[in-house]
Amino acid sequence: MPLPDAERLVAALIEQMRPETSAETVLIGIHTGGVWLAERLHQALGLKQPLGTIDVSFYRDDFGSRGLSPRVKPSEIPFEVVDADVILVDDVLYTGRTIRAAINELFDYGRPRRVRLAALVDRGGRELPITAQFTGAQVSVGAGEQVELKKAADGRLSLDVTAVAGG
């Protein structure tokens, strides 16, 4: 199944989210693809609070088998999480484990009023009861394949399918 154009999905997401957000809504992008997407959404939605970013490396559930990733980026949440109206932003929603880790990490900053999820693509294959409130598109790819968001030098976003290395 050919992948949809990422730029069109971004536009679609913005339209879905605009009526559902207020000036107080805060966005948190999940590294790395989720941050690129969140930057675009944040700009388009004109939110008052600055953008937050989160790296879930310290909260992953596969630390015991995979070890610590060498490319951990710092999480930055430059606003008050307590009582906030949070939207987590990720590029690809798949098993739901990244979102679970992000929620756990978020709650270590404080108790938000509510948390919703915006995902550019949902490829199904959920292993946890996680749903996105805002989705660009549903796609279907094989089990040995990976959907990746790419950012060109001029900032244009695009989607790519690659085979997963190893098992």
Partner: protein
């Protein structure tokens, strides 16, 4: 003769941290980079991440040290580990359980990690050789041999303030002969590509073959500090006066103490470091220890992040 590295697993990943000597550059840089991410954890409301949740870290201190033990404890707890502190006391003359028996008993209590400090060089290596495969050993200081987490946090500090290792002149001043910190620093500096590492001290306090470690030897502090970018002062133990190594602390301060005048010989933006605890008036003058070039307090903060990094990395490598 051993052809393998007892610190690395079959995939060349860090399994134990026993000494900086023999570790490739990439592993050292990985630890520094990971430590950087842990710095921000300390600034949050909840200063914890769940990486070591459910793991038991045993602080096995055969040589007592409240400072070092506390920073390891804080680091482990910030990783959500359970920490058990054991002060086994000095071992040399005491009859009782052998070192290895102690370790075996603790392993039976499902330890996941031993943080070990001992007065004898090689103690951490001995323990690492005898623990079950899933247990990780971190050397918190063994005799005069190594204090790798201190060496790493010192490198982190240098990188934080100086950015690029490849252009630095670093001077280490004081009792290098008895210092595990100095040995670890020297290995780290040379591995990370610092072009000029200097040791400064009287002949009685420098090991006979220290130049073979890749350092320049100075007995004149003024010459040794000239144009230095980093000045690391080592602690002088009181016992050194007893073994006819030095006449007095005063004379040591006169020749090798860091005063403001001597510091002025280094570069104006040179940083001053000390592994602690400091002997004010022996190694270092208070005005320098508390002065604008001193980074001694930040070293402590960095120490927690570096230890968090080391613990997470080894636990993630089976």
């Amino acid at each position: 003769m051993m052809a393998y590295n007892p610190q690395l697993n079959a995939n060349g990943e860090l399994k134990h941290l026993l000494t900086i000597e023999g570790l490739p550059r990439e592993i050292l840089l990985n630890i520094l980079d990971t430590a950087h991410s842990f710095l921000s954890v300390a600034e949050r409301e909840i200063k914890k991440v769940p990486l070591l949740r459910g793991k038991s870290v045993f602080n096995l201190f055969f040589e007592s040290s409240t400072r070092t033990r506390t920073t390891f404890e804080i680091a482990a707890k910030r990783l959500s580990a359970d920490v058990i502190n054991l002060n086994v006391g000095t071992s040399s003359q005491s009859k009782g359980e052998t070192l290895l028996d102690t370790v075996a008993n603790l392993s039976a209590m499902h330890a996941d990690m031993f943080v070990v400090r001992h007065s004898q060089s090689g103690a951490a290596h001995l323990i690492a050789r005898h623990v079950a495969p899933y247990i990780h050993v971190i050397n918190a200081g063994d005799g005069r041999h190594a204090h790798p987490t201190q060496g790493l946090l010192d490198m982190f500090t240098i990188r934080h303030y100086k950015k690029d290792f490849s252009t630095l002149r670093v001077a280490i001043v004081g009792d290098v002969l008895h210092s595990r910190v100095a040995r670890s620093q020297i290995h780290a500096l040379t591995t990370l590509g610092v072009p000029e590492v200097r040791v400064i001290g009287p002949r009685t306090l420098l090991p006979a073959n220290v130049a073979e470690l890749g350092v320049h030897v100075y007995h004149d502090m003024a010459q040794g500090l000239k144009d230095a970018d980093v000045v690391i002062m080592l602690r002088l133990q009181n016992e050194r006066m007893n073994g006819a190594l030095l006449p007095s602390a005063q004379e040591f301060f006169k020749n090798y103490g860091l005063t403001a005048e001597k510091l002025a010989l280094a570069r104006p933006d040179a940083i001053v470091m000390h592994p602690g605890p400091m002997n004010r008036g022996v190694e270092i003058e208070s005005s320098v220890a508390d002065g604008r070039q001193s980074v001694i307090l930040p070293q402590v903060t960095f120490g927690i992040a570096v230890r968090m990094a080391v613990m997470s990395i080894v636990v993630g490598n089976t």
